[in-house]
């Protein structure tokens, strides 16, 4: 009768362990998103602040830290996705034949479509990295520099988001992300063992707040460019007198 699984075998080999991994990686990704959103909003302070911020990210620790951060993020993301697939396959296998009459009493739409919103977020992340980090759609993006010789991230973002379809697709992606998190955020604390009644209710409300805040915060850049709150600036020419 003695159970054999302990330690790491539990984390990756049991359903509860797999959900713990989902919760921890999900929380790590949420913390990253919060800092990422904060950084993005610096675009409202103009090209100088934004480009300096972008440079500071890439040059931290002699340019090495960004790779450490990317490695960590990739590990979190890949583990989250791998566990999502593993759980999804298991959950499907657990009910090979469904009901002729399907009904839902309590489960939210967001909770039932985590795999769908997750996959859409995955697709968005791939496109987003191709768009800004690798410059797949417009290789020029990465060659733009400002007067200080820094990569002109401001111009890149403003140029990209001045295409309404690009800006709108980012907005749509953020709505999908919000759906993932409106269930995900409250769920992660339950997975990690929060059985406190009031705390659970408070976190359910906080979940909606966090999802909306993140989506809203991320949308401020594309929407700001579209509505002209963030203006293009000619920074590729050296300033007169310099």
């Amino acid at each position: 009768m003695a159970a054999t699984k302990r330690g790491l075998a539990v984390l990756f080999g049991s359903t509860i362990g797999a959900k713990t991994v989902m919760a921890v990686t999900g929380l790590a990704l949420i913390l990253f998103l919060l800092t990422h959103m904060g950084g993005n909003l610096l675009i409202y302070f103009g090209p100088d602040v934004f480009n300096a911020y972008a440079k500071s990210l890439k040059s931290a620790g002699g340019g090495g830290l960004v790779w450490v951060a990317r490695g960590g993020l990739l590990a979190m993301f890949a583990t989250h996705v791998a566990m999502a697939f593993k759980l999804q396959l298991r959950n499907r296998a657990a009910r090979p034949l469904g009901y002729a009459y399907e009904a839902t009493v309590e489960a939210s739409w967001a909770s039932r479509y985590m795999i769908l919103t997750g996959l859409l977020v995955l697709a968005f992340v791939v496109l987003h990295l191709a768009h800004y980090t690798v410059g797949v759609f417009n290789p020029d993006y990465l060659t733009w520099h400002d007067a200080e010789g820094r990569h002109d991230a401001y111009r890149m973002v403003v140029t990209a988001f001045s295409h309404p379809l690009v800006a709108l697709s980012y907005v749509v992606a953020m709505v999908v992300l919000a759906l993932h998190l409106v269930h995900g955020f409250q769920s992660l604390f339950r997975s990690l063992g929060n059985s406190h009644e009031q705390a659970r209710e408070a976190l359910s409300k906080a979940s909606l707040g966090l999802a909306l805040a993140l989506a809203f915060g991320f949308c401020l850049a594309p929407v700001g460019v579209l509505l002209g709150w963030i203006q293009p600036v000619e920074v590729t020419q050296p300033a007169p007198g310099k």
Binding site: M1, A2, A3, T4, K5, R6, G7, V10, S14, T15, I16, G17, A18, K19, T20, L87, R90, N91, A93, A94, R95, P96, L97, G98, Y99, A100, Y101, E102, A103, T104, V105, E106, A107, S108, S111, R112, M114, H183, Q186, S187, F189, R190, S191, L192, G193, N194, S195, H196, E197, R200
Partner: protein, 249 residues
Amino acid sequence: MNLTLKVWRQPSKSAEGSIQTYEAKDVSPDMSFLEMIDVVNDTLMEQGQEPIAFEHDCREGICGACSMVINGVAHGPNKATTTCQLYMRHFKSGETIYIEPWRAAAFPVLKDLIVDRSAFDRIQQAGGYISINTGCAPDAHTTQVEKDAADAAMSAAECIGCGACVAACKNASAMLFVAAKVSHLGLLPHGQAERKTRVLGMVEQMDDEGFGACTNYGECEAVCPKSISTRYISRLNRDYLTASISSEI
């Protein structure tokens, strides 16, 4: 009242099943759902047909035998109610009602609406015993139990093992059942000696039986005839994780 029933019929575990249609005529609103099926079965037998097989025992909401999914909801539309305690007055004359067995790989259909729930028995067995003195009845206050702990353990112990949580869960997860069974002993002083081996053993057996994982949908609590809270699931997660990283020394 008159009803149209769409019932899952499956002659045996290995046979193919399908939904069959029956008319239930002159049903009294005061009949329980099971009594309504009894009457339909009488008619079927008179016509020389095989009656609809379903499980039942106490017919007073305490044994958990009367498992069936009614219009997509385990034990039907009433909250905190087993099928045997569900009355026909909650339906409208002329209504069509779907009646299906619990659907889960770990609960194979044996016949019609009857599923094999021995996976639950094996999970309970994997939990093992508790070390406690038997023999003469001890004084009531030999082991002190805090009131809050006693209440919480009692709520968990209300679980009748019916399997509605599995039937309702979109992942066919047995977490609410296991959480209740782990907690009703784990919350009491009497259950501390084997607390870790119990939770590790039961969760491992649960996984081996092929139940799904918990997505925190909340469907299980909503259909549980004893309204057992999903807070026990979170407690199970905590108990399991702490047990799994603990060592003998």
